[in-house]
Symmetry: C2
Subunit: 435 residues, 2 copies
Amino acid sequence: MSNKIEPRILKGFRDFLPSKEIERKRIIGILEKNFESFGYVPIDTPVLEYTEVLLGKGGGETDKQVYRFEDNGGRDVSMRFDLTVPFARYMAKNRNDLHLPFKRYHINKVWRGENTQRGRYREFMQCDFDIVGIDTASADFEILMMMHDSMKAIDVNDITIHFSHRGIFNRLLDRLEILSSSVDILRIVDKLGKIGEEEVMALLKELTTESNAKEILDFIKPAGSDEESLAKMERAAGGTSDDTERLKTIFGYIKECGMEDSFKLDPSITRGLDYYTGIVYETFLDELPGIGSVCSGGRYNNLASLYTKEELPGVGAAIGLDRLLAALEELGRVSEKQSVTDLLILALDEKLYGHYHNLSRQFRKADINCEVFHTKKKLNAQFKYAEAKSIPFALICGEDEFSSRTVNIKDLDKRENWNGLTVDEAIAKLSENKR
Amino acid sequence: MSNKIEPRILKGFRDFLPSKEIERKRIIGILEKNFESFGYVPIDTPVLEYTEVLLGKGGGETDKQVYRFEDNGGRDVSMRFDLTVPFARYMAKNRNDLHLPFKRYHINKVWRGENTQRGRYREFMQCDFDIVGIDTASADFEILMMMHDSMKAIDVNDITIHFSHRGIFNRLLDRLEILSSSVDILRIVDKLGKIGEEEVMALLKELTTESNAKEILDFIKPAGSDEESLAKMERAAGGTSDDTERLKTIFGYIKECGMEDSFKLDPSITRGLDYYTGIVYETFLDELPGIGSVCSGGRYNNLASLYTKEELPGVGAAIGLDRLLAALEELGRVSEKQSVTDLLILALDEKLYGHYHNLSRQFRKADINCEVFHTKKKLNAQFKYAEAKSIPFALICGEDEFSSRTVNIKDLDKRENWNGLTVDEAIAKLSENKR
């Protein structure tokens, strides 16, 4: 008879074992450094908010997915389901303490009670970066460059960022006198990649005339070159406008920075959400386009309209970290390191533990991650521990070495030994050979 | 008339503005690096767990503080209120994938619906590190050394780690034949610092005889030196034992590593929680002892007994990050940086934006955090932005500099100018003068 509790976890939630968490933190660390190199600053917001603040006074399609409850003080609260709504609330609340344009990044967990059968998680990471309080081509381009450089920074080199401009699409709908159906049309167009042209055509015809449907379908098909696509879009939208000029300016920056190989003007990119007003984009891995966009976003003209009359235009993107990590895993691009320890000090003599610990500090001070084996077990068990933790080097110090103030270092992979080193010599050897 | 929603946040929850979040992340980064230098690996667990898993089948004093609710699937779930219980569940669940001894750290948020009037937060950070699956003096000492070195790493040098041994205290209670009241006695003794000797004596006398109360009070008072304290404890506990030997061994390591100035044997440290069985400790800032312990913990002999029959002895500590940050703020020891940007490229000429962005990439590649000012505003407004973001340097490049392929750099604090530099020269100057 056992009255133990089963250590189970909730469906859609995950434990992260060390190798996965090390890799996730490594990637997040690189992204953070990259965002900061562009002048973006980190912020944090509460996981729990008033439900009204997150969902507004009405309630949309996401509501059913939200973790919502009454707290012990009788308040109607919810766990955040994205990082955009809390950011809008944050801008409105802290407006007087923030200088515009404000550039922030936020990498943290969000929760949605989604159907887990589609391989989705109920707890997952979002990674957002936005610049708010400005509406220029330079700001639009900065976000594109950050997306591009972020992927390169984590060694994802073969990407294509598909981009377009929502404003130009809206001008087409306006010309066709169907702008009022734009939300429904956007939702259909956004499915092009999944359901194909024929199905999109059929769905559009339910909403508008066949001739309009054809014009829309023609609009979203890329032409041979980006220049041709742009010219075609311009014609369809009724000629030159601020929106087409904006797109041309951004194009110019892309070329001047030599990044044109990673970008493609793709009029089928419209993004389903209706708050986008300008440039919109999605990022695909050339080796794994099927997994979908790993970094998407666009320009919006009014971030915090739910909370304040002040107009806060902005532009931003979000990296789908879980999808990106899954892709890297599929491409065999993730490290399976069980630790980041460089050196294990073996326990040869119980009396020498003080010395072992003293040695360990000297290595750590020289930036060599070092641990001491804490029980005097057989050497085999100690080597097995090193293997389990992917530790590449061992330090051996018995009574003889202690007397002569030396140590022996063993390269556990290459099975080489360097014997009779002083601590300084050992540090130099290890620093040279660190992996 | 306005139908805007008030952008308020819940009581006990906080937004983190950039300067605070930059500092928090800086400190966390240093701690993580330090933990990893000792071979500790990061893990992660879900924020939501089955209530039964977190609270057990019964329910204790913490229950009222837990954020507990029924999810949309009718499950009884709770938000984690600490990182210890999820860690125990994690060890039991993933036991086969983990090699013992297992060393992990976990820095993340937990939630408790505490009374906010006492200046407590309902959402706060915990920072735990533990080594599990081993019971030796070397492991005990490692945690002490990590506490010590963690504080030094974040430049908190004047600390005293007060430590004692729960086993020795229990031996005293056993000798006095009042071991069965140990939980209540521990709770009283733990209050010594707050309520004073007299009050402790009064409370103890309610539980046991005056002579016992006197012996306990005498036991918990430190003697002149650590050696005298140890001798006194040993006598009170009925002589030498494994526990006193363990304490002496740890003492030896502390001395051999030259850390004795930061340690003090303090028999009044017992920790309120009843799962501790061996060494226990609390850390005080010499400059601000009044704020209480910033890092505490101890040895326990059975981490995951709620979920598994396997005994998992361990030793660990937790840094009270929020308290520590508050203390550093009080000591004027936190940076108020609004960003980590090194260089702002000023917008002098609309036509040069492509060039500005191209320049920015070259600086970033040389590890200089660099941003472009995105609108052609008056220079005054641009300098004001640099000031608001604590950016120390500006780059000036107009048509003349563009033609001659040079740039001018301005040190905004010292009001010095370096003119007519090539990009490489500018990079060298900035790398030298970075702050």
